[in-house]
Amino acid sequence: MSGPVIDIQPGETFTLNVGPQHPATHGVLRVKMEMDGEYIIKAETVLGYIHRMHELMGENRAYPQVLPNLSRLDYLGAMGYTHGHVLAIERAAGIEVPERAEYIRAIMVELNRVASHLFWFGAFVMDLGGFTPLMYAIQDREHILDMLEAVTGSRLTYCYFRFGGLYNDVDDDFVDAARAFIPRMRKSLKKYAALVTGNIIFRKRLEDIGPLSAEMCRKYGATGPVARGSGIDFDVRKNEPYSVYPEFDFDVPVYHQCDSMARYKVRMDEMEQSLRIIEQGLDKLPDGPIMPKKKPKLIKPPKGDYYQAVETARGSFGIRLVSDGTKNAYRFKLRSPTYSNMHLFDEACEGMMIMDALAMMGSLDLVIPEIDR
C-alpha cells in the first residue's frame, strides 16, 4: 500500500533538509529533498560530513599501522572490515594463516555480523517509531560485545586481526560463552519475529515500500542484504569464497519482493545463518598456533595490484591495494558497500512519502563513517 500518485505543480515545492543532524540519518548525513507536501520530488544526498580520508592514511602509514583505521570505518561491524584488510595484505604478501586463526576469524566476524544486524534491527524499528525492540536488541548485542571484549579487549573497534593471524587466542571461556549464546539468540530471534515481524503496523509500513529492482541494484552496484532483498543471490562468502567459509554449511537468504520488508527479512535470516556458522566453527575449531611460524618482520607485498572482497554485515567490502614494494601502500582503495547502497536512495525515493522514504533509508542499514570513509 503506497501513497497515491501525485501530479507536481511547478513552483509548489519546497526544499527540506533532512540532516546533517536528523534522527533518521543515524549520523551526519544530509539529504536535500525537494518536497511537494509530504511527497519527495527529488532527493540529493550530500556526503562528506565526517570524511576522514582513510585512503590517504592507508598510503602514508606502514601496513600494520593502518590496522586500527579499518575498524573505524564501521563501528558496528568492525571485524568484517579488518578481515578484508588482513586478507588483502595476506594475499598480496603471500602470508599463510594457521587454520585455527582462520576459524577464530570466521567466528568473530560472524559474531560481529550478528551484533551489527541486531543493532540495525533495533535502530530500524526505532526509525519506524518502536523503541522497545532496540533495547531488547541491545541486550542481546551486549552478550556478544562482552564475549568479544573478553577476547579482544575492546567493545567496538576491535583491532584484533593481525597479518597472518590474530592478536591473541581465544580461551575456553569464550567457547563456552559462545555456545551458550547461540540457543539464547535463537530464542530472541523468535521473540523478535513475534514482536516485530508479525506486527501488522510494521508489515504495513514495510511491505511494498521502497522497491529496488534487481536491475537497479546492478546498475548501482548494491550488494549485501540490499541486493539479496531484491532477489539477487549474491554473497561474497559463497560466490567468491575466502578464508574458511567453504568449510561451513550455510544458506544465503534471498527474497524476491524487492521491498523494505524483504531487506528486513534477509537480515533477520542472516542472523540465523551466522549462528549456524558460529556453531559449526566452534565444533570444528582446531588446535594450533594462531600466528604463522614464519612471518616477515616487515610486510612488503611485492609490486602489483590486488583486490580482495569480503562480505561484511552491509555487503561486499573491497580493498584494492596497489603496492610498489615498499612498506607503505601505493594506493589503498576502500570500496565500501553502503556507499553504493546509499546511492540507490536518491533515485529510489522519488515520488515516495517522506515517512516511507525514511523507512527505506533505515532498511539500507547506513553507517555513515563507512560511507564517508
Binding site: P64, Q65, T132, E149, A150, G153, S154, T157, I200
Partner: protein, 156 residues
Amino acid sequence: MGAYFSEIFLGLYSLAVGLSITFKEFFKPVVTVPYPFKTLKMCDRYRGHIELIENENGEPKCVACMMCQRGCPSGCISITTKTETYEVEVKGEMKTKKKKILTGYDLNFTTCSLCGQCIENCKFGAIEFSKEYNLASTRKEDFHFNLLNRLKERNS
C-alpha cells in the same frame, strides 16, 4: 469482504501477541547496572590507555628503544631520553658503557586510537594496558599523560 475482516482480525491478533511479549518483559528483572553506584569489572584483556611497567627496583622497565613511538600510527607517544655513561666491570676490566635513560614518557591520549601497536612492538614488556575507563574531563590537557609521573604516583 472476507479478506477485509480477516486482515482486521489477524492484525489485532498480531498486536495482541506483541503486547503479550512486552507485558512479560515488564515483570522481568532489569538488566542494566546503575552506573555510578555499581560498576562492572573490566575484563583481563581490557585495553585502556598504556601504562609503564616497573621492574624490581621500582624503575620503569622501559629501555627507551623508541619502538613504541615509531610504531604508533597516530604518533601519540613521545619519549625523551638522555644518554648516561656508566662503568661496568667486564672480565675484570672496567669499561665505560653508554646507556639511554628514560626521562619522559608522554602519552597524548586525545589522539590515541587504542590499537595496541605500541605494546606489540615492545620487545621488553615495558608497557601494559591500564584498566582505567573512567576518563572524562572538560579539558584537553587532562589527557596528556606523563606516564613516568603516573608510575611514581602508583608506587608512592
